[in-house]
């Protein structure tokens, strides 16, 4: 008899979701659906508001990566003003954006995912969390907490507060970097660099332990999308769009971000509040692609900082062509942390970094603005239209987690087929299905621009909807 298993909610992710696994008559997984169960409506309630409010308004989409939304919104507003922001403002925004990448990756890797890696997927869920890690691997847990704190502190030093700073404004930033702040940030960097390197060494040494997961966790061919520098280097703040296929062939290159709609389109499914972006050239649902750390490291020709370049070369040697397993999002995250710290240090050494000219002033000069940046979880796109008085008439956001929606669904299906034995629910199976989602570090509040709450439970249902078995947590 066909049955359904529901994992609800998915834990240790940012946001609220549930997973439904459909089993056929033989207890084999026939389909898997990742439902995002929250709805918020950011694109609607900003209508009628002045464009100058957009960065702060849109930053409220998320408390984990508000800086990414600030950056994308500010860039869209720069376009509405039709200004080139002062070079120092560009560099300062980059520092804050990289600090955000470092802190968010640290949260994802250490706080949310390291318990699975350290304790094992089958460990007791009561211990398989950051507190369990603190007990058994205190150094690693402390490193993670410290690294996240450093990223957050840099954001606070620049913007005045850790979450939702109002420092990034249309036309630049609203306060230059003072010598004191420069010194404060500089002092934090060597420690961050040390932690990033130490963690990478540890992770690589233990990589072989996770070979089964690496083989089964979202290990399938997809396209990859992200921003690159004009020379094909790693880019998080500005840059041009590139798409590569599963063999590493570049299919779209140096596409100005404003032309994103030439490459992708969005589909809607009734079971989820999260939209399904897909590559236009391939159609829906074949146009599956991934974004985020793994995608970024798969599309580039080089990283751009010495230490991260070395690590990247090693990373790419794991696989001929792009690294396909979503398990390696974790690995990619660690390399990006290293890059972020190195790049912040380079930017701090820039001779103009303390220039007082950090804001271009102008009135709205265009009807439409598009801001595209790389958030920790991948490419985010903010697209606004305004009226003649500078009030927003229309907004569209495509968020990193949204791009990965098709890939996450397929990843869940793959893991479920590999690990789920349809006859009964085992804790380790449940966690592996969740863990594949965790690889993508989805931020569902961002992706749906939404809110909601779900109790944790898995249900086994018959084809008629009858409850056969359930597990609560």
């Amino acid at each position: 008899m066909p049955r359904e298993i529901e994992i609800n909610p998915v834990t240790r992710i940012e946001g609220h979701a549930k997973i439904t696994l459909k089993l056929d008559d033989n207890g084999v997984v026939s389909d898997a659906l990742f439902h995002v169960t929250q709805f918020r409506g950011f694109e609607k309630f900003c209508e009628g508001r002045p464009m100058t409010e957009m960065p702060s308004l849109m930053a409220r989409t998320c408390g984990i990566c508000p800086v990414s939304h600030l950056m994308a919104a500010s860039k869209a507003c720069d376009q509405l003003l039709a200004v080139n922001i002062p070079p120092t403002a560009d560099k300062l925004r980059r520092i804050m954006n990289l600090a955000q990448i470092v802190q968010s990756h640290a949260l994802s890797f250490f706080h949310l995912s390291s318990p699975d890696l350290l304790m094992g997927m089958d460990a007791n869920p009561a211990k398989r969390n950051i507190f369990g890690v603190l007990g058994e691997y205190p150094q690693l847990a402390k490193d993670g907490i410290r690294l996240r704190a450093i990223g957050q502190t840099v954001i606070e030093i620049l913007g005045g507060k850790r979450i939702h700073p109002a420092w990034t404004v249309p036309g630049g930033v609203n306060a230059p970097l003072t010598p004191e702040k420069h010194q404060q940030i500089s002092q934090l960097m060597p420690e961050a660099l040390e932690i990033a390197q130490r963690t990478l060494v540890w992770f690589k040494r233990n990589l072989s332990r996770f070979s089964e997961e690496a083989a089964a966790f979202g290990n399938f061919p997809t396209y990859f999308l992200g921003l690159v520098t004009p020379t094909g280097g790693l880019e998080h703040y500005d840059g041009l769009l590139r798409v590569v296929d599963a063999r590493g062939q570049i299919v779209e290159d140096m596409v100005p971000p404003e032309r994103y709609l030439d490459i992708i389109a969005e589909a809607v499914e009734p079971y989820s509040f999260m939209k399904f972006p897909y590559l236009k050239a391939l159609g829906y649902p074949q146009g599956i692609y991934r974004v985020g750390p793994l995608a970024r490291l798969n599309i580039i020709d080089h990283v751009g900082t010495p230490l991260a370049d070395q690590e990247w070369a090693e990373f790419r040697e794991m696989h001929r062509g792009p690294v396909l397993s979503s398990f390696h999002y974790h690995y990619a995250r660690l390399i990006e942390i290293l890059y972020g710290v190195e790049r912040i240090m380079e930017l701090l050494a820039d001779k103009d970094i303390m220039s007082p000219r950090v804001r271009a002033r102008a009135r709205p000069n265009r009807d439409e603005g598009i801001g595209v940046t790389e958030a920790p979880r991948g490419t985010i796109m903010h697209h606004y239209r305004i009226d003649e008085h500078g009030l927003v008439t229309w907004a569209n956001l495509i968020i990193a987690t949204g791009h990965n929606n098709l890939a996450m669904n397929r990843g869940v299906l793959q893991v479920a087929r590999h690990f789920v034995d349809g006859s009964k629910i085992q804790e380790g199976m449940l966690n592996r299905v969740e863990a594949v989602i965790r690889c993508y570090d989805p931020c569902l509040s961002c992706a749906t621009h939404a809110y909601g709450q779900m109790p944790m439970r898995i249900e086994l249902r018959s084809a008629t909807g009858e409850l056969l078995d359930q597990v609560g947590r």
Partner: protein
Amino acid sequence: MTRPSVPKPAGVAQPQVVTLRIDGRDVSARSDETILSVARQNRIDIPTLCYLDGLSGWGACRLCLVDIKGTPKLLPACVTLVREGMEVTTDSPRLQKYRRMVLELLFSERNHVCSVCVSNGKCELQAMAQRLGMTHVSLPYRYPRLEFDSSNDLFRMDHNRCILCTRCVRVCDEIEGAHTWDCRGRGIETRIISDLNEPWGESSTCTRCGKCVNVCPTGALSQKGTAVAEMTKRVTFLPYLTLMRNSDEP
């Protein structure tokens, strides 16, 4: 809108000197002074939002309500004149409760979203809520759909943040002499309008002086181009202007 100016004694009679008690302290004052003015001269601070030194009293916000012995009603200190032998209480649990209620009503009436407001951190309404210990709004929010007038070249009006204090109306009329602003409607439907309810940018009377923006206690009136928490109001010009005007009087 008719302005209830502070009543003055008829004729040319010189104001009398009166003595009264405010919060148990004996104070003396001129009979044409308000309770608020006498209290502040004696360093007794009564919270206000619509009152502004240099403009006429209006009595709109009701935050300055005080208790007067022998009077069953609470009276606004900004428009109530002192009297001989008055006994005034400016602070009590009852008054604090009413003041907090006034603030809760203001917050629930329109869309005061501090976190994304141009005046965040520099707002008199926000500061007053902190000062009076308004920790939450117990009334349901109304979430009205209100317009945002961005038609003026220099300034903008966000009706979502307006508390109808009418400082803009008074400064425009009494100081600038343009009387661009006024009120239409009644009660909760009242709106500040420019000229005969035309977009501000199309007003033929507005001189673009910006006085209204600077006296506005919230983020309702702001300079164009300011982002969140960037709007700093300057009201120091007002006492100088009124001083100069009054010194010209015969």
